[in-house]
Symmetry: C2
Subunit: 257 residues, 2 copies
Amino acid sequence: MSEEKKVRAALIIIGNEILSGRTQDANLQHLAKELNGVGVILSEARVIPDVEAMIVAAVNELRAAYDYVFTTGGIGPTHDDITAECVAKAFDLPLIRNREAQALLEAHYARTGRELNESRLRMANTPEGAALVKNPISTAPGFRVENVYVMAGVPMVMQAMLEGLKPELIGGKTTLSRAVASYIGEGNMAKGLGELQEKYAALDIGSYPFYKAGNRFGTTIVLRHTDEALLDEAVEAVAELMRSLGGEPEFQDMSDA
Amino acid sequence: MSEEKKVRAALIIIGNEILSGRTQDANLQHLAKELNGVGVILSEARVIPDVEAMIVAAVNELRAAYDYVFTTGGIGPTHDDITAECVAKAFDLPLIRNREAQALLEAHYARTGRELNESRLRMANTPEGAALVKNPISTAPGFRVENVYVMAGVPMVMQAMLEGLKPELIGGKTTLSRAVASYIGEGNMAKGLGELQEKYAALDIGSYPFYKAGNRFGTTIVLRHTDEALLDEAVEAVAELMRSLGGEPEFQDMSDA
C-alpha cells in the first residue's frame, strides 16, 4: 500500500496578549479541527510577540517547512499591527496599498458613515501581488502570499476568514479519529499499548490519563489514521486489551477531532 | 535610568492532542501569569508533536535563546511519553533511572497497593544529574536540567509542579499592567495612540478591539511596564486621548495579567 502524501500546516499566533496571559487563544483549536476536515494536518504552532524580527524569522522558517502557514493577529489599524509589513519583508516584497482592499474599505466606511482615516487605510496594505482573504464580519481583509495565509486574531473574524479560504486548500486524505476509554490506569495499559503501537505502526496512538470525582482514574486512548478499516481493527484491539485487564471499554464519539 | 535586565522564558507544549484540536491547551495562560508574578516574561511558546527530532531541536534552540525553558507533556508511562529521552538527547546526557524518583514511586505505589511495573518505572527516568520537580498530585516527578524545566501536561499536575519550582526562579522586576477601555473604534484612536507609543517608547502598549451586543464596539488599551509611576502617567495620557475623542475611559483591574 503506497503511503499517501501528507499535507501539513503550521500556525503562527502573533500577539503579546496571548503571551502575557491576558487572552486565552481560541484560534489553534478551531484551525486544527477545520484543517483536519479538509485533509490538512496542523503540525506545529508558535506563539510570538509583536516583534518584527521574530515574525519574519517564523514566517520564513515555517513556510519552507510546511505546505501551508497560517498567521493570526496583528492586522488592525494601530501601531502594534505589524503583520503585513513583516510578511512583506519575509518574502522580500514591497508593501503596497492594495487597491481591491482599499475599495472594500471605502465602500464599508461610506456605508457606515464612519471616517476612513489614514490609520484605517493601513488595513489595505499588503505585500505586492497578495491575494485577498475576505472578511465578512468587519470588512478589513486578510491576504495570502504563496503558501502563507494572514488572518485576523479576533476569533469570530478569523473563523469567517478561514471558512472563506478553505475551498482553496488542497489536502490529503482526512485523518479519522477514534477514542476508547476505561477505568484502567495508564501504567497498567502501557506495556500492551506499546505492543499495539508497534503492531499498528502507521497509526498515531495517544494515551491520555483522566481523573474523575470519587478518586476514579482511567485512560483514554486516541487512535488516528486515514484508513477507516485499519482504524476500526486497531480500536477493537485496544478494547480487547482493556477487557483483558478487567476494564469495560467505552467508545467515544470523535467526529470532529 | 539604567534599563533593568529582562528575564525571559519560552514554553514548549508537547502533545499531539493539542495540535489535533482534541484538547484545548490551558497551561500557556497559567504559566504566563505565574511567571509574570515573579518577574519572568513569557516571550515565546511552541506547540509541537510527540516527535523526537522536533522536541530535541526546540529544546536546544530555545534553551540557548532564553533564560528559562519550560516543557509540558509527555512524561507519563506510555510509548508516546518521550520527553525525558528527548531532553537527555538535547543535552547529550545519558538517560538514567533516577534513584530519588524511583524511591518516590516505590513509596507511592506501596501506599496505594497498585503495581509499580516496568512501564510506571519509566517515569523515574531522567537525564543524568537532573534535579527533580515535585509532583504533590500524582507523585511521578518532573525534572530540571540547567535552565530547562520539564513538567506534566495535565493542568492540575502542571500547576502544582510550577507552584513548587517557582521559588527557584530568579526574575527581574515584575511587569505591571493597566487597561483602559472606551467605546471608540480602534481606527479613531490609532493616530493618537501611535504618538503616545512614540512618547512612551519603553512601554508595551497594545490595542484590542471589542464588540458588544447592540452593535457597540470599542477598544481596550493595555499598557505594560515595570515602573508604576510611568505606567500611571501613560494610562492617564491614553484616558485623555479617549476623552478628546468623545469617549469615557473605563479603567479595568488587571492585577493578574
